[in-house]
């Protein structure tokens, strides 16, 4: 079983290398077909998007946080958390919401303004000759395919799972799920450093538009307000649903990923790893589209661990008995040494894959 999974991982990673080259090929075709000339000028927005630029900048800097808070109030007022938002859940949701917003921006700024100019001093804006739509396509693939892999590996590689467990521990869905993560998972997100580097290289404008769109799609996919239900209810909208649910993450497909079961025909924590795009799950065969919502969410091994253990494991451990985040719990069963006749009593937490 593990061998099959490993060979599939290797095959899919190989396919991904080809997918990463698609935007480069698309930009090549654009220049070839349009007889365009590569200039040194900075990337410019298409005229019809000029009016949207200030809006996107405001959304990126403060608007999205306000939108999330309003959405959270609506979700809470509508009782969509089913009274499950209590105790440790509140603490972990609030700290996960606030901490990255306070800590990540200075970290990314330091990386972009101090680290990159030292590491690659002569390459600032070296990609500003790339046309806007080429850059948009490139950032969309670069950011989201990388996050797909980051996410999938945290489900399928046993030692990584507990860095992602916090995101799946809540027995409910809602806007807070978007940022509910172990902080070490968040701070080492590969795609944010990749997009920051591509921004430094001159693709900041397309990155702005991609990241705002991505934020709304991922927020919508985690929200307990199922915006996609009308698409499944009215037959006339089914063609739109068919396209959307294969292209982007919807509440139905992403809620299935957060189900506490997999294999019941609806819940699918073994797949649906896509964040902005669902197309990666379609390509790699990890997707399940049912247009149904799971009955329950979370993980079976959840012990409502302390907020500090969920947020900062393995720096802080849980004191709860039987917790996967407690001291002395491993990601795989220990192999008993030959000279040790008694089996190891150590606990282990199986990856949710």
């Amino acid at each position: 079983m593990a061998t099959i999974q490993n060979s599939k991982l290797t095959r899919d990673l190989g396919i991904s290398l080809l997918l990463y080259t698609l935007p480069v090929l698309a930009i090549y075709l654009y220049f070839k077909l349009s007889n365009g000339v590569v200039s040194e000028s900075h990337i410019t927005l298409p005229a019809f998007l000029e009016f949207a630029k200030p809006a996107f900048i405001n959304i990126r800097t403060w608007g999205l946080t306000v939108f999330m808070l309003v959405l959270g109030i609506i979700e809470f007022s509508a009782g969509l958390y089913d009274d499950q938002w209590t105790g440790e859940e509140r603490k972990i949701d609030i700290i996960s919401f606030l901490a990255p917003k306070l800590i990540l921006p200075p970290v990314i700024a330091f990386f972009s303004l101090t680290v990159l100019p030292v590491l690659i001093p002569n390459l600032e804006n070296s990609l500003s000759w790339v046309p806007f739509w080429g850059g948009f396509f490139l950032i969309a693939i670069a950011d989201d395919l990388t996050q797909y892999w980051y996410h999938r590996l945290h489900h399928q590689v046993p030692f990584l799972w507990r860095f992602h467990r916090t995101h799946h521990s809540a027995p409910y869905m809602g806007m807070a799920m978007l940022s509910r993560q172990n902080f070490i998972y968040t701070i080492f997100f590969s795609q944010i450093y990749l997009t920051a580097t591509l921004t430094y290289l001159g693709l900041g404008l397309p990155a702005l538009f991609v990241l705002v769109l991505k934020s709304f799609i991922t927020l919508g996919a985690h929200s307990s307000i199922a915006w996609d239900k009308p698409l499944y209810k009215y037959k006339v909208l089914h063609p739109i649903a068919w396209v959307l649910e294969r292209l982007i993450s919807t509440p139905a497909t992403h809620h299935a990923h957060h189900a506490d079961t997999s294999g019941d025909g609806v819940g699918h924590f073994k797949g649906n790893f896509g964040n902005m795009f669902f197309i990666w799950d379609v390509i790699f065969g990890t997707g399940l589209i049912t247009r149904k919502f799971p009955k329950s969410y979370g993980i079976k091994s959840y012990k409502q661990e302390e907020w500090y253990a969920q947020f900062l494991w393995p720096i802080f451990k849980s004191k709860k008995e039987g917790s996967a985040l407690a001291d002395g719990v491993f990601s795989v069963p220990l192999k008993p040494k030959a000279e040790n006749a008694t089996p190891s009593p150590a606990l282990y937490e199986q990856a949710q894959s």
Binding site: Y20, F31, S190, L194, L198
Partner: protein, 39 residues
């Protein structure tokens, strides 16, 4: 924190770094080659 905890964080950083460097090499390297090719 024990040694095993530092190891697991270290291994995680290695995975994250690989996921950062490979796409960057393909995309930025590919575009740099493309620019030379189109000139």
């Amino acid at each position: 924190m024990k040694r095993v905890d530092f190891e697991i964080i270290g291994k995680k950083i290695v995975v994250g770094t690989i996921l950062f460097l490979i796409p960057l090499a393909i995309l930025a390297g590919g575009l740099a080659l493309l620019k030379q090719f189109l000139k």
